[in-house]
């Protein structure tokens, strides 16, 4: 028998209501073996789901009805015009958990996601800064300005790339860049 523990259920629930691809599962009460796991879902039986692309799930949301609810179900067999609006809503809520509006209601999850992303970016920035102070080796001598000036002078003296490159751009008569 397939079983779905509450930890895996947690990853299935929630999530943005994309075009009918996310849905929440409401399982039957685990009548047997209720002691080993807190909430085990028996996935071998018909399950309830709220999906915008499948309006009528395999089973009603509430199948264990109280006395009053059973009476209401009996009344449902008669003319529906005799039902009050509250009774109609009650019948709807017996059969379904969330209405379409509730299914499609946007969540504030994006704020959490964005906040988390920015937080970790900031943390990474702090780590990089610490590394720059405590981990980086000393700056190479060859990157200092005086060394680079001497290097450039040597390259010009050697006539590096005299046709189209470096030395071609240097005016040797005037001693400056062209």
């Amino acid at each position: 028998m397939l079983r779905l523990t509450s930890s895996r259920l947690g990853s299935l629930l929630a999530g943005r209501p994309t075009a009918a691809l996310t849905f929440s599962i409401k399982g039957r009460a685990a009548s047997q073996q209720s002691h080993e796991v807190s909430e085990a879902l028996d996935m071998s039986r018909p399950m309830y789901y709220d999906r915008v692309d499948m309006p009528l799930p395999d089973k009603p949301y509430k199948d264990v009805l109280s006395e009053a609810e059973q009476k209401l179900k009996q009344k449902e067999k008669g003319p529906w015009s005799q039902l009050t609006n509250e009774e109609k809503v009650a019948l709807y809520r017996l059969k379904f958990c969330q209405s379409y509006s509730e299914m499609k209601a946007p969540s504030a999850e994006w704020k959490t996601v964005l906040g988390g992303v920015l937080f970790f970016l900031g943390f990474t920035g702090l780590v990089v800064w610490w590394q720059r102070i405590y981990v980086y080796p000393p700056r190479p001598r060859t990157l200092e300005d005086d060394w680079k000036a001497m290097q450039l002078q040597r390259m010009l003296d050697m006539r590096i790339n005299p046709v189209e490159g470096l030395s071609a751009k240097w005016d040797y008569d005037k001693g400056q860049w062209k």
């Binding site: 915008v52 692309d53 499948m54 309006p55 009528l56 799930p57 395999d58 009603p60 449902e76 067999k77 003319p79 529906w80 015009s81 005799q82 039902l83 609006n85 109609k88 809503v89 019948l91 709807y92 017996l94 059969k95 379904f96 209405s99 379409y100 509006s101 509730e102 499609k104 209601a105």
Partner: protein, 141 residues
């Protein structure tokens, strides 16, 4: 306006007049270049016959409805009338209301389809005593 089921393509037809899809494929995702193609009227008639079965059972109602909602179209009011009558035979008011919600959702950004459908279904809704989700406040959160 439109004689058969309104087809909504992903590219978003802005008007209600029937768009010409690239392939005249009334069955959801099939694009035949050969073979007989079902017209919109035949499609509607087939579904009306399905839901008009006098002894339709709850499974068939659910299966039919879920399949119909899976198509890229908003069902014609006459199909929906047959569905609502099937709900009545099954003594299932909740499903009838759910179906109206599903139709509104199928219309997507085309906000004028659902009021038209409700307007066409008004005689059936009052005959059977079905309230719309708006009347029951189920369209609010």
């Amino acid at each position: 306006m439109f004689r058969a089921a309104v087809r909504l393509s992903v590219s978003g037809a802005r008007s209600l007049t029937r768009t010409q899809p690239r392939c005249q494929a009334p069955l959801a995702s099939r694009c035949y270049s050969h073979g007989k193609q079902e017209t919109d009227e035949e499609f509607d008639a087939r579904w009306i016959t399905y839901f008009n079965k006098p002894d339709i059972d709850a499974w068939e109602l659910r299966k039919g409805m879920n399949t119909l909602i899976g198509y890229d179209l908003v069902p014609e009011p006459k199909i929906l009338e047959a569905v609502l009558r099937a709900c009545r035979r099954l003594n299932d008011l909740a499903s009838a209301i759910r179906i109206l919600e599903a139709v509104k959702d199928k219309a997507g950004p085309h906000k004028d389809i659902y009021p038209y459908v409700i307007q066409e279904l008004k005689p059936v809704l009052s005959e059977l005593g079905i309230s719309t989700p708006e009347e029951l406040g189920l369209d609010k959160i």
